[in-house]
Symmetry: C2
Amino acid sequence: MLSERRLQVLRAIVQDYVGTEEPVGSKALTERHNLGVSPATVRNDMSALEEEGYIAQPHTSAGRIPTDKGYRLFVDRLADVKPMTQPERRAIQNFLDGAVDLDDVVARTVRLLAQLTRQVAVVQYPSLTRSAVRHVELLALAPARVMLVLITDTGRVEQRMVDCPAPIGENTLADLRARLNSRVTGRRFTDVPLLVQDLPEAFEAEDRGTVASVLSTLLETLVERTEERLMIGGTANLTRFTHDFPLTIQPVLEALEEQVVLLKLLGEAQDSAMTVRIGHENEYEGLNSTSVVSVGYGSGGEAVAKLGVVGPTRMDYPGTMGAVRAVARYVGQILAES
Amino acid sequence: MLSERRLQVLRAIVQDYVGTEEPVGSKALTERHNLGVSPATVRNDMSALEEEGYIAQPHTSAGRIPTDKGYRLFVDRLADVKPMTQPERRAIQNFLDGAVDLDDVVARTVRLLAQLTRQVAVVQYPSLTRSAVRHVELLALAPARVMLVLITDTGRVEQRMVDCPAPIGENTLADLRARLNSRVTGRRFTDVPLLVQDLPEAFEAEDRGTVASVLSTLLETLVERTEERLMIGGTANLTRFTHDFPLTIQPVLEALEEQVVLLKLLGEAQDSAMTVRIGHENEYEGLNSTSVVSVGYGSGGEAVAKLGVVGPTRMDYPGTMGAVRAVARYVGQILAES
DNA sequence: ACTGGCACTCGACCTGGGCGAGTGCCAGTC
DNA sequence: GACTGGCACTCGCCCAGGTCGAGTGCCAGT
């Protein structure tokens, strides 16, 4: 068990290192934080902290820097989420209020997060699985060609072309549209398959093939691109850490290009609570020197997607967590309104 | 006027420099290209080329590197666009054929371009201005709330919420939908404003406000986001030029984040022909050390948007231009089919 | 007009030495 | 027993000096 003072020392090391980006020594520590003890004492404490694996020396006879384990302790026990100031909150809200559609909401959110945290922002589009159907529209573009438009309660719109086995009449299409909507409007995606199962039976034999095509396309749309899309921004912020440069930036950029990796990253924590993954806690190798702060957001009580930021393990955790939390909250509000 | 041999020397310099990323000297030149003359002669030629501003020395007594002017001459007179090989063409086509919707087409195109050129790819969404309306759909989500869905002939779908001044009946809405579609379906966006101008007059006084709201939202949609969206990818490729690093990568990343800058960049050349902007020819300062190769693409004969790549001025111009041209061609085909 | 030779320039690279931040240890003090 | 001041030691950083070699410009010769 670490004594109270040693925790203070660790906290001071993290804070200083985050500020200066340079290994911090015992003397500098006592000067900048009034710990009430001498450098020599701090040296002993640091030695103990190193023993326990919370800090390390990049090379003999240099200052110490926190390890992943050190940051973990800091985040868990020493850091308070720093709330946004009133003007900041207002700015967030104003900026998001100007959005015209879902794409715009997501785009603005990314920009906002990147600016606030000065890091790389990642925002997942509201997921389909947990959302509900607001409306299904069917449009005959050609005799045997139907466009399916699916509108969700989060404002997301998906469209698909359906090639029908046989031409379909305008009346039949209207009938199908009406029946379909009366069954699925307002229902969860996960419930839809059961609800439409017996729908073809209500139609003439000649139309059943077409109805089946439409339905199967609908069901595909529900599952297929479920969690697929996301938007990132603020990659230029990666260059602020000109320190251990190209070595670390390249794999990070590569990881960011791989949506699969990012989606897995965001998806890892099951619940929508704020999650911080530090350095090697990230499974993907390229992100071993970065931390990911993520949280769920949603239009109602329930989270429909996640957002977060990717930055160096040496980041301002309290500030970042505060910004991420605040942005998630306001995005949720915007979605609920629209 | 430069003699034929001097042009050959310039070509050789560009090719070598692009390959090695190192200043190239007279001796190396004669060894790798059989110019049929001695290094001393080449030295004289290089001296003349330098005089004219086509090449320069990074520091006294080092090899020469091409200047922007040198690349310009190379592109204009010395380089042939390198056509894609048959397997490459097939691969492009196969990859793009798998796309399920417009977003997917654009996303795949970006990936493809980035991979083929090993540079940063930029793809603009098919523009609204030059495309035509395929269908307009109106959905009553609440008594005084209508969702407007606009489908273009390039497969793009835009949606907007319309808050109506008064509740609108289902019949009136159907009427409006029918009238609207009969007027605008198949028409160019630029023609739409005139075509719908007198539409409110066909309705009862109580509904005119609502009709006007819907129309104004429609018109806004047509102009507002006209050229707005684009997608980029392959930023990790920037790190391949580990040479004059953070200095150049930062402003480039920043430029790429600014969609406005990119759109201006793509939009600069009015016609849809292949355009190469080299170094300082780019107005935006951050891109002064990069070249931009762009070309228009479209579903029919006419270009509806542009795509291109951003890379260091020291790039393989023939190969890049070949890849860009090929991708643009196949994307056009895909759009025409869907 | 081209070539071979030659002196010269100047950045890249290596080496060695001094500097200083930071450490670990130990004896001394409260 | 916990803390402190002192001291010797380590080791990366930075600078100066020296060498090396690629590349140049010029000139005399063919």
